[in-house]
Symmetry: C2
Subunit: 212 residues, 2 copies
Amino acid sequence: MPKIVDHVQRRAELAHAVWRVIQRDGIEHASVRTVAAESGWSTGALRHYFPTSDALLGFAMELCFDWIAERLNRLRAEQAARPAGTTSSFQRIRELAHIVLPLDDQRLLNARVLMSFMPRSLVHEALHEQERRGTGMLRMAFTEVFEVAERAGELVPGARADRQARQLLALLDGLNTHHLLAPRDYPVSELVELVDAQLRATFAAQPEVQSG
Amino acid sequence: MPKIVDHVQRRAELAHAVWRVIQRDGIEHASVRTVAAESGWSTGALRHYFPTSDALLGFAMELCFDWIAERLNRLRAEQAARPAGTTSSFQRIRELAHIVLPLDDQRLLNARVLMSFMPRSLVHEALHEQERRGTGMLRMAFTEVFEVAERAGELVPGARADRQARQLLALLDGLNTHHLLAPRDYPVSELVELVDAQLRATFAAQPEVQSG
C-alpha cells in the first residue's frame, strides 16, 4: 500500500520540519507559514491538514510521544523475551528511565521538543490533554515496575510504587531540562549516574548494574 | 527620593503586566505591544525602555530571580540569627528548597514564569545567560550547605555536596513543572514530602523535621 507509506513518510517529514524550526528558532516561531517554508510544502497544502499552528504543534508533540511509546513497546518486548528471573526490577526501571534520557540524537530531540511544549501546554487545552496522555503513559509504565518491586519487598521501608514513579519522572524531566540548558554541568553520563543514585536510594538491596 | 521609588514601582508594575500575559496567554504572546496594552503604557513609552520583546522578557525573568535572591538573603539572615547549633544542615537545605517550591502565590508565579522561560532560554543567548546566572546562584546556595553537611560527615557514604546540589535542583525543577501541569497529581504537600524523601536518602542520620 504505497499510499499509506507515503502518508506516514510525509507526516514524518513534516514533523521533522516543525522540530527543526523549534530547535533553531524556538517554538514561538513554529507557525504554519514558517513550517511550510521549512518543509517545502505550500502554506495552502499545509493548512489543509493543519488549519492552525496549534494543530500543527499538537501533531509534532504527538509524534514525540509516539516515539516514546515505540521505545517503550520495544523495551517491553525485549524484557519479556529474556529468560525469567534474569532481569531485576532495579534493572527494568533503569532501562525504562533510559527511554527518556538524551542517550542518542532521537532522544535528545525528544527531550528538547517536549520541554519546548511544556509552557504552551499550560495555556492550550488540546496540547495540555496530549501532554497529560503522554506523561500518563510513562507514569503508568514506571508505576507497574515499581509495583512489582514493592510486592517483592525490594524497596526501602516506606517506599510506595506510585510515589516512586512520580519522584523518578520529576527527576528525569528536571535532569533533561538542566542538560539542555547546561550540557557541561549536566553531561549525559552524570544524568545516568544521578538516576542510578536515585534508584539505589529506593531499593533495599543494591543489584549489580548492567551497562547499557 | 520619590523618583527612585517611582521607578522601582513602575518596573514592578510592568513586570506584573508581563507575567499576567504569560500566565493567561502564554509567553509567545508577550510582546512589547501586548504588554503595553496590558499595563496601560503606550507602545512608544514601553519601547523606549525595552526596544524588543526579548529585552522586555529578560527584564521580567531578571525580576523573578531577584525575588529568589531576596528570599535567599532573607532566609540566610534568619538562619544566621538563630542560636548556633539549633538548625541542622538537613533543616537548612530543606528551608532552601522551599524557596523555590510553589508554597505561596509569589513562588507559584515564580515557578510558572521561570518554566515558561526555559525553552526560550535555549534559543536566545541573552536569556540563556540570565537563566544561567539565576540557576548558578541557587546551585551555589545548595552546594554551600551540602558542603557543610559533607564536612561534618552527615551525608550517606559516597554522597558529594556538588552532586547532591545538582540532583536536588533538577528534582525541584521537575516537581515544579509537574505541579504546574497537574496540580492534582503533584499537590504542594506531595512536593514537600518528595523533597523530604530525597533529603532523607542523602543524610545518614534522620533529624526531626521542623514544620514550615
